[in-house]
């Protein structure tokens, strides 16, 4: 009998080779050390992480956290994790929608999927009942087709599209039609198991230790959110979605343009979130348990019901590839979602192709190119589908692949925010903005502003933020709300839910353990300081600044010095590898 509150105490193991299911009851100690979500998934990945990504024994993990399904704000999320087919690092995505919520209500803290089904299959979970289905008839179908097939509104649905089935290394897992576990090729990990879809429905209630204390913590968090211009302000995420960052990034000369060859996009003022609002009158839509509702869905403009692009997609499908057709962005985004492609990696691969082709105009053939990638229709589509790094390397122009550890970079040029350069280089899943998200203080001024053009202080800031975000992904909550609230408030929610007398510092310590474990896993697969680095372009070419706002190339020596400081602060050796002393200190032997 599970005595814990917050957690169900049950993890489901499904072996797709044998079709057998097992119920695991992880020890309480494991929950306390790794919390849930990303942390707990990591602890189940670690024993197998040296296996090839497509080995049948490589686990595919879906985990929720103790706050999921409770009144704690923005805590309806879950983490999908495995080893990345694109990068070879750990692969994980925090995903919204209702997946984590339904899984928890069905009585599961997480699912471990191993093996490989003989035919395309689906997994259907309803409370404690597990069904493995034959999904051959859905093979090759778009994600929209899958969502339409399960459109009863009762279940949460996660599905891969043709891209994953065709071996695209950056294929995404789509959830509840509008949400993506986009990065690192997690969709291909599903395909490797011959798993086309997963549905979950649950109706149980999550047990909470002290409901009144949880409501008090919730009230404090909501008050902080209301005071946040980034989240709830007139130009914030709630009103415009993450696209509200578009104008800001351009005005700060940080918008990656022409495959990061420039950092200013002259047409940005016509392609911003306001322009989308005018064209499509989007409505608010949100993940389960979220009051910010940053997701936007079109209501008009011939696109009713279509997901509006997120900031990264808005930026990369315009500035990065030289497109000034707003509707084309919307259509390309929808096509990527249908095919099950990560929009960031897709656009970045195309930008690499465009640069190597002499900055040709991709606009007339953009949708065709996206389709060729997603369907592996020809040599070019297949080559691009292996990712920008592989594509550029095969053409002896690796310098044109704007990637870190093989993962294509998102839409913040690091020459305009030096903390971001460290965050990209050091991220355990490759070129990712979300591990430390220094844009928060370097651009958005939260919790206070920092000087974006200095490395001073940044090594420790990045380390602290990585730890915080690791535990946020484990609770599981949305990182965006931490523009306003902090672990101080979420520790109270965690304590109220679990009954554990945890402080913000306790959670931060758990985050450090979770993050260090990821460094251990990557080091085990051969990743070293050589991989904690940026594309050469950032050190040799200036951005699009002017006299009043120069955007200089990054200073290589200063970058390396900051990285070395980070290694010391994180307790890594000079090659960025975990040390026995730190492993012992964090209890990670």
């Amino acid at each position: 009998m599970n005595k814990m509150t917050g957690w169900t105490g049950r993890v489901l193991h499904i072996d797709l080779t044998s079709g057998e299911t097992t119920v695991l009851a992880p020890p309480e100690e494991l929950y306390l050390r790794f919390i849930g979500g990303r942390g707990l998934a990591g602890s189940f990945l670690r024993p197998q992480v040296k296996l090839p990504w497509d080995h049948p024994d490589m686990p595919l993990l879906l985990f929720t956290g103790p706050l999921v399904g409770t009144a704690a704000p923005t805590s309806g999320r879950s983490t999908v994790m495995s080893r990345s087919p694109l990068t070879g690092t750990i692969a994980d995505s925090s995903v919204g929608g209702r997946l984590g919520f339904q899984l928890k209500r069905a009585g599961w803290d997480g699912i471990i999927i191993t093996g490989k089904a003989q035919t395309p299959s689906g997994i259907e979970i309803e409370e404690e009942r597990i069904r493995i289905t034959n999904a051959s008839h859905l093979s090759g179908k778009t994600t929209s087709a899958i969502f339409n097939a399960f459109a009863d509104g009762r279940r949460s649905v996660a599905a891969i599209g043709p891209a994953a089935e065709n071996g695209v290394a950056f294929s995404a897992l789509m959830v509840d039609r509008h949400h993506a576990a986009g990065r690192t090729g997690i969709g291909l990990c599903f395909a490797a198991k011959n798993l086309k879809y997963l549905t979950v429905a649950g109706s149980g209630k999550v047990r909470v230790h002290d409901r009144q204390a949880l409501l008090a913590a919730r009230e404090d968090i909501l008050r902080l959110t209301a005071a946040s211009p980034v989240l709830m302000g007139r130009h914030g995420f709630s009103c415009f979605g993450t696209g509200s960052l578009y104008d800001l990034m351009d005005s700060r000369r940080m918008m990656p343009t022409d495959n990061f060859q420039r950092t200013r996009f002259e047409q940005a003022g016509e392609m911003n979130a306001h322009a989308y609002r005018e064209a499509y009158q989007p409505e608010k839509y949100g993940c389960m348990g979220c009051h910010i509702r940053c997701k936007k869905i079109a209501r008009s403009g011939g696109a009713r019901g279509v997901s509006m692009p997120e900031f990264e997609t808005m930026s990369h499908f315009t500035a990065l590839i030289g497109n000034i057709d707003l509707h084309l962005v919307l259509t390309a985004n929808a096509l990527c979602n249908d095919l099950g492609l990560d929009t960031i990696s897709t656009a970045a691969a195309l930008a690499c192709y465009r640069e190597l082709a002499g900055d040709i105009d991709l606009t007339p053939c953009l949708l065709d190119l996206v389709t060729r990638i997603g369907t592996a229709a020809d040599d070019l589509g297949r080559a691009l589908g292996r990712g920008a790094q592989d594509f550029a390397r095969a053409r002896q122009h690796e310098e044109s692949a704007m990637v870190v550890k093989g993962l294509e970079l998102p839409a913040y040029d690091p020459r305009g925010a030096y903390g971001m350069s460290l965050a990209y280089a050091l991220s355990t899943r490759g070129g990712c903005h979300l591990r430390a998200y220094p844009v928060s203080h370097e651009i958005l001024r939260k919790p206070v502003a920092t000087d974006r053009f200095t490395y001073s202080g940044k090594a420790r800031i990045i380390k602290i933020a990585e730890d915080q975000n690791a535990v946020v992904d484990s609770l599981s909550a949305c990182k965006f709300i931490f523009f306003a609230a902090g672990l101080e408030e979420y520790a109270r929610a965690y304590a109220a839910v679990t009954g554990l007398a945890a402080t913000a510092e306790d959670l931060q310590n758990a985050g450090e353990r979770i993050y260090y474990q990821e460094r251990i896993m990557n080091a085990g697969n051969g990743f070293t300081a050589m991989d904690d680095d940026l594309p050469q372009r950032f050190f040799t070419e200036a951005g699009s600044g002017d006299e009043s706002l120069p955007i200089k190339p990054l200073d290589r020596e200063a970058f390396l010095a900051a990285r070395a400081k980070y290694y010391r602060i994180r307790g890594l050796d000079e090659q960025g590898r975990p040390t026995p002393e730190k492993i012992t200190e964090l209890g990670l032997r």
């Binding site: 946040s228 206070v448 420790r460 602290i464």
Partner: protein, 394 residues
């Protein structure tokens, strides 16, 4: 980091918050603004936290007198009811032991701890990204304590429960108050016709607002309308360092570049759309905040929720007091402030601060800000005298 540590040590002194602060920054090693016997113990505090900055300082007067009294009255935690505490600090923990272990126990939960050991009184705060964060918290602790102390004394006086200790602390704190500034400065004259003029006027007005102690530097906000664009200070910007921290925001919302603008942008916009104002100044002058919280309505059903639910038409002379929380939530001041300030020279938001407007430049709102604060200060002491007289009659 050394430069930042020294900068915020200077700022603490200039702001009248501390006289000999210890400020540290931390990256892969600790740097202090100066050497001190306490550094070794505080290094243990830092080692026990995920932070990159720490401030430890005895608050300057009158905060020292105020906090010395409050920590005896509230030995576990001080809980002021003002907006800063309610929204950001939650409460001000108190410790009686100046040790790494005791300090850590509090800083693991909260942004500050006030340590009162023997005759020593120290405020310890920290930051995770910058010494500025620790500075802001330090400043908030002082402001919140000031507001609570004077509000408590008035309430205690009316209830005839002022102790000798409280009376002595009050007398001492009052004697240590700066005299109220009398004359407003001569600020740049409008109407402004260019962005450069607007920005120069905002920088100047912000500087004076802080200089006159009408706001602690990291709070409050300021804006100016030029044609159909509202220029407004950025969120978390320091009003005395506004250069480069002003966002132009089109009134029609056609650009989101103002996502970094003050959380009160919506309220400012609505005011500009309702009345012929061209400038708005928002400060946190302490006596306006204290008086906004002074309400003796018995058995009010909204007691405890005054900041969001007060339904009474309350005024300090001609200036309305209204409920409303920071930002744009359902109980946000963006809903209550614009109608209240229309046809008024200013409005006070309960437990939060004072907004004033001008039709041409910042001379009018600055003058009103100063005048209303001085009026509130006079009114506060008038209420003290009235309560004293009443007590003597009884």
């Amino acid at each position: 980091m050394k430069e930042l540590a020294e900068k915020y040590a200077r700022r603490l002194i200039i702001a009248g918050l501390a006289e000999a602060p210890l400020v540290c920054g931390l990256e892969d090693e600790i740097v202090w603004n100066r050497e001190d016997d306490r550094c070794a113990m505080l290094a243990q505090v830092i080692a026990g936290m995920h932070c990159n900055a720490l401030i430890c300082a005895e608050p300057a007067e009158p905060y020292r007198t105020i906090l010395s009294f409050l920590v005896r009255k509230y030995p576990i935690a001080i809980t002021p009811g003002d907006c800063e505490t309610r929204t950001f600090l939650h409460d001000l923990p108190v410790s009686s032991i100046f040790s790494a272990e005791a300090i850590l126990a509090h800083l693991h939960r909260r942004k500050s701890v006030t340590v009162a050991e023997a005759k020593s009184l120290q405020i310890v705060t920290f930051g995770t990204v910058s010494p500025e964060q620790a500075f802001v918290t330090f400043s908030s602790v002082c402001f919140s304590a000031f507001v609570l102390f004077f509000a408590d004394y008035l309430a205690d006086l009316r209830a005839s429960r002022v102790t000798a200790e409280e009376q002595a602390a009050f007398a001492r704190a009052v004697s240590l108050l700066n005299p109220p500034p009398a004359e407003p400065p001569e600020l740049l004259r409008g109407p402004f016709t260019s962005e450069n003029q607007v920005i120069a006027a905002m920088i100047e007005a912000g500087l004076y607002t802080v200089g006159f102690r009408l706001v602690d530097s990291y709070f409050g906000n300021i804006s100016c309308r030029l044609d159909d664009t509202v220029y407004i200070s950025q969120t978390g910007s320091s009003l005395d360092e506004l250069a480069g921290c002003i966002d132009p925001c089109p009134l029609d919302g056609s650009s989101c570049a103002g996502i970094t603008a003050s959380s009160e942008l919506v309220a400012h916009n609505e005011i500009y759309l309702r009345k012929a104002s061209r400038t708005i100044l928002h400060g946190h002058p302490p006596f306006a905040v204290i008086l906004s919280m002074d309400c003796d309505v018995a058995d009010c059903p909204n007691r405890g929720q005054c900041h969001v639910r007060c339904s009474l038409a309350r005024f300090i002379r001609d200036v309305p007091i209204i409920p409303g929380e920071v930002g744009t939530g359902p109980t946000g001041l963006c809903h209550t402030l614009p109608p209240a300030i229309t046809n008024r020279r200013g409005a006070i938001v309960w437990g939060h601060g004072l907004f004033t407007t001008g039709t041409t430049d910042f001379n009018e709102p600055f003058s009103n800000l100063l005048d209303i604060e001085n009026m509130c200060r006079q009114e506060y002491f008038a209420r003290i005298r009235a309560a004293t007289d009443q007590k003597n009659k009884n």
